[in-house]
Symmetry: C2
Subunit: 306 residues, 2 copies
Amino acid sequence: MSKIGNISFIAIDWGTSNLRVWGMDQQGNVVSTIDNGKGMSSLMPCEFEPYLMNLIENWLNEEEGAPFPIIICGMAGAKNGWKEAAYLEVPCPPINQDKIIHVKTKNKRISVSIVPGIMQISPPDVMRGEETQIAGYFSKNPNFDGVICLPGTHTKWVHLSAGEIVSFRTFMTGEIFLSLSEHSILKNSVDSENFDQTSFLEAFEDIYSSPALLSSKLFQIRALDLLEKVAAKSLKSKLSGYLVGAELAGAKNYWLGQKIVIIGNDDLSILYKKALEKLGLDATIENTKEVTLNGLRKVYFGGNNL
Amino acid sequence: MSKIGNISFIAIDWGTSNLRVWGMDQQGNVVSTIDNGKGMSSLMPCEFEPYLMNLIENWLNEEEGAPFPIIICGMAGAKNGWKEAAYLEVPCPPINQDKIIHVKTKNKRISVSIVPGIMQISPPDVMRGEETQIAGYFSKNPNFDGVICLPGTHTKWVHLSAGEIVSFRTFMTGEIFLSLSEHSILKNSVDSENFDQTSFLEAFEDIYSSPALLSSKLFQIRALDLLEKVAAKSLKSKLSGYLVGAELAGAKNYWLGQKIVIIGNDDLSILYKKALEKLGLDATIENTKEVTLNGLRKVYFGGNNL
């Protein structure tokens, strides 16, 4: 089967609000990228296939041959996504090749697989997408034993041992930050494009020792604006510092005495690394895109229990 | 001066999103009520006077005489309200008659006064409106020494002694509840008009002992919906329980060993009372409207340092 630009398979990270599509060659190198597509929350189940086909039409050809492999991780596998890929339950490897689901498509030129998410019964928790990032990290660090922190909208702390996810815990840190920044009395007080690491770290240390005061410290942001006209840049950084500080106090039994790897975007990962340094911890940062691609490559190239 | 329905003065609670106007007779009884008016956040400073005049037009008459007294508490005295009433600073009585500001109006038939809010420098905090409720409570309980909790969008815990506000602390509990209920992944999971006190109290006790886990427990609400299809009524009650539980853990040095009075709407006050009972505390509930009216009555009838 010949393809434009020598694309052999397509790797996709289909999140709630973002879609990233990579055309990959036979060696697993990225040949083409589409990263401004619609997230899962904007699509009905029946819309995924035509939407994707329209995006990748130029990558396919009309020749006969084996269907074109497409490997997807993320929220496309949720109940209201393209097709539900039932959760695996911890303890388990991040990806089990036997549990990857196949999606029946109208177009026979494609062969679509979705990686299942992971669930935990007690305490109740779920992930979709992060398991592929973790599998990608494992693919380069097969003997890793420790904790991976994946900061973001729903920050995950994941305990890994002997190639398995042992347990994990999600904190709504990023989403609380967004909700309060955009839909609360703090909106005007934190309206800034800039960030001040010093204010972040001060707020982090302040709340870390008294996390029960979180919702009070958050109101203090408003009071500091009214009474002392503190700059929005500093107040936005404080909001972030309070939320991350409360999270790290809550996640203590995850990071205490552990090797820590942070998987996330650059800015946020650096903030978490700086915050962890304040607690005397050294963390390694991995790039989300790279580990996601490594996870999807492993699915394509095979290998059970990634 | 004759007035329709024998109204001698007007008492107003002008909050951010609500306006309540009471026509009062010479004995301080409520004769007429308007409670569906626009809050301060919907009005420009220049719009307050014509908006109010339009509402109360029928209560006034065209005869000559002393201008009609209007006493206002709440956000109408904020910087971007009708006219700024500069904060008093703790420790101070809830209302100081000498600091009540007079608003110059175009219409000479009215004489408008606004009660100032209260500020605290360290930790930084502010209130507007609650000081009048506290003054109203004091007017009937002049020797009260203890703590008043005013649950709501921005719940306040206020330490009172010797007729003064000694210190206070605001928790954004109500606003976080609203932001997450309406603008987060929890939205569908907590979409219910009903409430389940048992779920509330279970969540309250659960978080009270580990308040640092707040943002993780909040995500568990979503996981419980996905994994166990727990009813929205129960999950909404849990959301409330987690937030109130974290607040009460943070407010411990306010309520510990104190006499506690709750001033708030009925439903929320009862929840706080039940939660405090779980901590072995007995609280008295006062109705917001009654204490607000008592505070505004005291301003009208006089008496310094209420």
